[in-house]
Symmetry: C3
Subunit: 295 residues, 3 copies
Amino acid sequence: MLELQLMKGSLFENVLEAILDLVNQASVNCSASTGFSLMAVDTKSVAILSLLFPSEVFQHYRCDEDCSMGIAIADMVKALRCANDDDIITIEADDSNYNDITLTFESPKKNCTADYDLRLVDAERHRVQIPDWQDLDSKYQAIIRMPSAEFMHSCKHLSNIGDDVVISVTKEDVTFFASGQSGCLSIVYRQNETLDKSEEATATLVDMREPISLIFDLSYMNSCAKPFALFDQVTICLSTTVPMMVEYKIKEKGYIRYFMAPKVEIEIEEEEERKTENEEAGAEGNKTRGMKMQD
Amino acid sequence: MLELQLMKGSLFENVLEAILDLVNQASVNCSASTGFSLMAVDTKSVAILSLLFPSEVFQHYRCDEDCSMGIAIADMVKALRCANDDDIITIEADDSNYNDITLTFESPKKNCTADYDLRLVDAERHRVQIPDWQDLDSKYQAIIRMPSAEFMHSCKHLSNIGDDVVISVTKEDVTFFASGQSGCLSIVYRQNETLDKSEEATATLVDMREPISLIFDLSYMNSCAKPFALFDQVTICLSTTVPMMVEYKIKEKGYIRYFMAPKVEIEIEEEEERKTENEEAGAEGNKTRGMKMQD
Amino acid sequence: MLELQLMKGSLFENVLEAILDLVNQASVNCSASTGFSLMAVDTKSVAILSLLFPSEVFQHYRCDEDCSMGIAIADMVKALRCANDDDIITIEADDSNYNDITLTFESPKKNCTADYDLRLVDAERHRVQIPDWQDLDSKYQAIIRMPSAEFMHSCKHLSNIGDDVVISVTKEDVTFFASGQSGCLSIVYRQNETLDKSEEATATLVDMREPISLIFDLSYMNSCAKPFALFDQVTICLSTTVPMMVEYKIKEKGYIRYFMAPKVEIEIEEEEERKTENEEAGAEGNKTRGMKMQD
């Protein structure tokens, strides 16, 4: 027996709305200890999404035994949209029924109840192996933490110029660069050296272990930036050997993580040449190597 | 000589905007005693609309002798949209001119006047015989009065799931049910037994003479729900022998009435079986028979 | 060296947004004395746009020597949209570089800078000879000054009825008239005879030297009305021998000027007949002759 309770307009619903354009069907696991976790691959198999909602995210969370199920995100979102403002939403799954789950919407006036029986999809088909964070951390050459609204704006502006972004990290700054027919745009975030506590929340912080420069598809970057309104900060972890991770933290243990491979080396070099011509800023430290989506 | 005066943004204009997507050309009758009445059939001849604006709806109402005319609703709405905020709108028809009516917009500053000569259409072609309310009332097995916003929300949510809605009335409650690929949604409004005066306006009241269950096309239901923002309450009258009537009352004597036939029996039975499987809630009392649009 | 500084959301940016749908590529001239001027022809060569931003429009304006360049308006607007709220925008052109100009966006927090290198287009191809205002003034038979919001509303409403507008000026009033399938609309602005100072800003003033009646394409009129939100007043100058000019004044010396030829005589006469039939208002004074776009 799984029972989750949430309010209309809760973080859970808003996060699902934010991932809707990237992923279609997802594999969900619930357990008493870790909470509600969800994994999905985008339709073109370029990005992997991993989500953990700890039990504290829900108004009420009960999970008698671990369970897995496959969910069509769009249908789940459609179901959640059926709630009116102020409705209490209860999601229930029966251990003996793997065909559907029930969402119940109760109005505060108690005069109306709605039940949505949501058909489940095949969970196994959508399961993905995500590398352990412990293993990943040591492989990142640079970790950037920045205000999520600035990340979103940068991705949006750059995608007006071109299809790809070059993200380059040096000790002093992080540069997002795109070029296209109309010209080229380069957005530079400087590492703030001395910060008092109050400034830290709105600052861009860079933990650069090695200089790095990688190219990513801007349409995917825009998808990764979608949850910006729900979280103040975003963390971008870059590596030449494992996929980039874009992470939003949910409370203490939860998260939304997007994993995405950069574009391959040959294009990177061409792009870098182009960038050098345009910007007269070399990217010598570039050690990008081809990499597989999973390590 | 017919002369109507109204303000920009009046009920008259808003109601025409609300019926615009359902009906195209309408037959209008004006008389000194009853006011401005309008009848129209939707383009697919599934729904009939009947409207009565009593003379009190207008700022000024003068009708020297009864007159009929055919109006293209979209053109009338386009004409009314030409008024600027605060304009006084005067609609004039000449007894000797059956080709057009004139809308005059006068700005409160008096420095600008606009005249719109609206071409009329053939009134006869759009005249419909609507059964008398006196006759109809006794034929309804159930009459539901509910907040119009809840009616609209229910129709909207259900049409995200499927194409049809099953409306079932028992002594205790009214159920709106739809099913589709993603699952099924059932919205239940409970009859409030004990209500104080202040609650009555927001309650759902059911006058059930016989249990009844009927199927309707949700796209038409959505059209019937359109005027929800203009009226607090909607009344839904269900019958197995005459078309459903959805009614919004305008002041004391006026109304907007939508008449719509349910879907035919054979489909209803299939739908009911599907519903029974999904919901394990039988609908034994169903006596739905085929019926014609007009009795 | 050219250096312009402006704030996000400034008049400069808003004006470019307003002319975006009419013109594509423009020829720009900057000088220390007159400021930033821009000329463009619409893609169908029906309308000419001439703009002058005096140096006071900018927060900072430096122009060491006169310069010309070709700008793709859409790309410039795209570049300006990259600024975040509160950003300071600097536009720089190098006298030795005719390939691109640089827009720099600096956030007030100083932690982020963005550079947009905007590719220039061929300036010569878009240069237009605009007749001198001194020469033009004497050729106008009528000059109308009216609130720009009323001009915009009239154009919008008329374009719901038909494709063309007939503008007729007599000593007493200005009439905008359109007709189409659904009927015809005639909007009359009366000349206010006695006005106190406070009323003058919202009044319609007509300087009629000779009665005149001309026909214009409403889609172009709508384009001319686009900047209505940025300026209180618009001036419309009508002539049978030179193109109509629609003008918005920017501070003391600046302006946006749209020049547009009326539709040719043969159509005008037919339209006039139609108007006469519909309105029973003759337009005897009409002396419209064929004219070329440039005098």
